[in-house]
């Protein structure tokens, strides 16, 4: 945007457009808020034989955690819809995350295991990256849908039936959270290993 307009050489387009970077960091904030408050909500009635350390949670008590959770949900959903709309309308979503094929995925997976997987150009994704980002999008969709069922099990009857009822939706919500956490940890670790990707997501290039 600040590049000189009349430069004869191709002004390098940003790897990530400003709107996309904004969406990415808004989503990161929403996910952290949702997860930390969600852990506190989980602790009020643990599904499994453990609780999250209170120091990792947000809200201080159940009522506070619920306020954070049901505030951050608007950010998560609104931002997610903006991202999807812009990504679909602009074609970026398809261009960057597709095509994805089992053969390509297997090939890149083998390369990765041998330590030879390339990510030569920021913004051009190999098959593993595409799979990981599509996985994160799918998991976020499952989190939103199971969350809707937990929030409004009576009003969203169809969705409730699809997820197998209120109690099943609690488990779906939990395991989707765990899957997203796994993605976030891997994603953050790789971004730190290849810092220029992190810089590109902040400054655009």
């Amino acid at each position: 945007m600040s590049a000189p307009a009349a430069s004869p050489a191709l002004p390098a387009a940003p790897v990530h457009a400003a709107w996309l970077r904004l969406c990415h960091w808004a989503n990161a904030l929403a996910v952290v808020l949702m997860m930390a408050s969600g852990w506190r909500i989980y602790n009020a009635s643990p599904l499994f034989g453990f609780t999250f350390p209170p120091g990792w949670t947000l809200g201080g008590w159940l009522g506070g955690a619920l306020q954070w959770h049901f505030a951050a949900m608007w950010l998560l959903v609104a931002n997610g819809l903006v991202y999807l709309a812009a990504g679909i309308a602009g074609g970026g979503l398809r261009r960057r995350l597709l095509p994805l094929s089992p053969a390509g995925l297997g090939c890149d997976l083998r390369a990765a295991l041998r330590g030879r997987l390339q990510h030569p150009q920021a913004g051009r994704y190999n098959q593993l990256q595409r799979a990981a980002y599509l996985f994160a999008l799918a998991v976020l969709a499952v989190l939103a849908m199971s969350g809707l069922v937990l929030w409004k099990p009576v009003q969203f009857e169809l969705l409730r039936g699809l997820l197998g009822g209120y109690e099943a939706a609690r488990r779906v919500h939990f395991f989707a959270m765990a899957a997203l956490l796994a993605f976030v940890l891997g994603h953050a670790a790789l971004a730190l290993l290849v810092p220029r990707t992190l810089v590109a997501m902040v400054r655009g290039r």
Binding site: V32, P54, T57, G63, L66, F70, P153
Partner: protein, 269 residues
């Protein structure tokens, strides 16, 4: 979770020593489960929260208060969103008797032994506010009204749920019978254990909202809210008051024991 607190305990059947012990236990429970009042919760943000909000002015009380106020404002917005989403014709799912949770959990902020003892002979249900006929009701009069049963899922704000069987008078029938202003916005409840809460009129008129007088075919036991509770399967448990001794119809939004501490006011499912 329907809860009350013991501002007005009626521990008639307890010996003084027992009572003292029970009260002590109850206070311990309160201290453990309510680690912070509404004031305190932002100061207990802990690691995650502090790291997140270090950019905000959370150092002083003012910063904490403004975050708290913003969260409360969003909670109000969520009330409106839920009112808009609420479909008066959408029914909560019902279940076969074989799926009833046994034993159905006791819910309260006091040990079961401190549940209020309400004497049927003294009991009167007060009816106040925007209602044509404000005569109080005796329990027998409530029992004389046409009854209905439901096996529905009680969902606690904590996340757990349990299936139970309640019987009683459809609340909409009762409101029409006493000539309540059905255009009013809220119905509030006051309970024998000091608990209080309120619901919106569309939920009050929902076909599954009951003045529950029985549980699983028996007179509603003391633990579950004798002599009557509101059973509202479209609301979270804390919106299902037990031991109700007064109700009122109003346009001014009443608070609630939990709602005043930060639970969402609408609390709908």
């Amino acid at each position: 979770m329907e809860t009350g607190f013991f501002s007005r305990p009626r521990p008639a059947p307890l010996a003084p020593a027992e009572e003292a012990a029970a009260l002590k236990a109850a206070r311990g429970l309160l201290a453990a489960r309510l680690p912070s009042s509404r004031r305190g919760f932002l100061r207990r943000l802990t690691l995650g929260g502090v790291a997140l909000l270090s950019g905000c002015s959370l150092r002083g009380d003012d910063g904490g208060d403004s975050v708290e106020q913003a969260l409360m404002a969003i909670s109000r917005f969520n009330d409106a969103a839920q009112g808009w989403l609420f479909d008066p014709a959408a029914l909560a799912p019902t279940y076969p008797g074989s799926m009833i949770t046994r034993p159905f959990p006791f819910n309260g902020f006091y040990p079961e032994a401190l549940a209020p003892v309400v004497d049927e002979a003294d009991y009167q249900l007060e009816v106040r506010g925007r209602v044509a006929d404000r005569r109080p009701w005796r329990l027998a009069q409530l029992w004389a009204l046409p009854q209905q049963e439901q096996i529905t899922r009680h969902i606690c704000v904590e996340g757990w749920s349990a299936i139970g069987r309640w019987g009683g008078v459809p609340f909409a029938d009762f409101l029409r019978r006493v000539g309540a202003d059905l255009g009013a916005r809220y119905v509030g409840f006051e309970c024998a254990d000091g608990y209080y809460t309120a619901i919106d009129m569309p939920t009050a008129l929902h076909p599954q909202t009951l003045i529950a007088l029985s549980y699983d075919g028996q007179v509603l036991p003391r633990s579950y809210g004798f002599p009557m509770k509101l059973r509202i399967p479209t609301k979270l448990g804390y919106k299902n008051p037990k031991h109700v001794r007064a109700l009122f119809v109003t346009d001014r939004r009443p608070g609630g024991y939990w709602e005043d501490q930060g639970y969402n006011w609408f609390g709908g499912l």
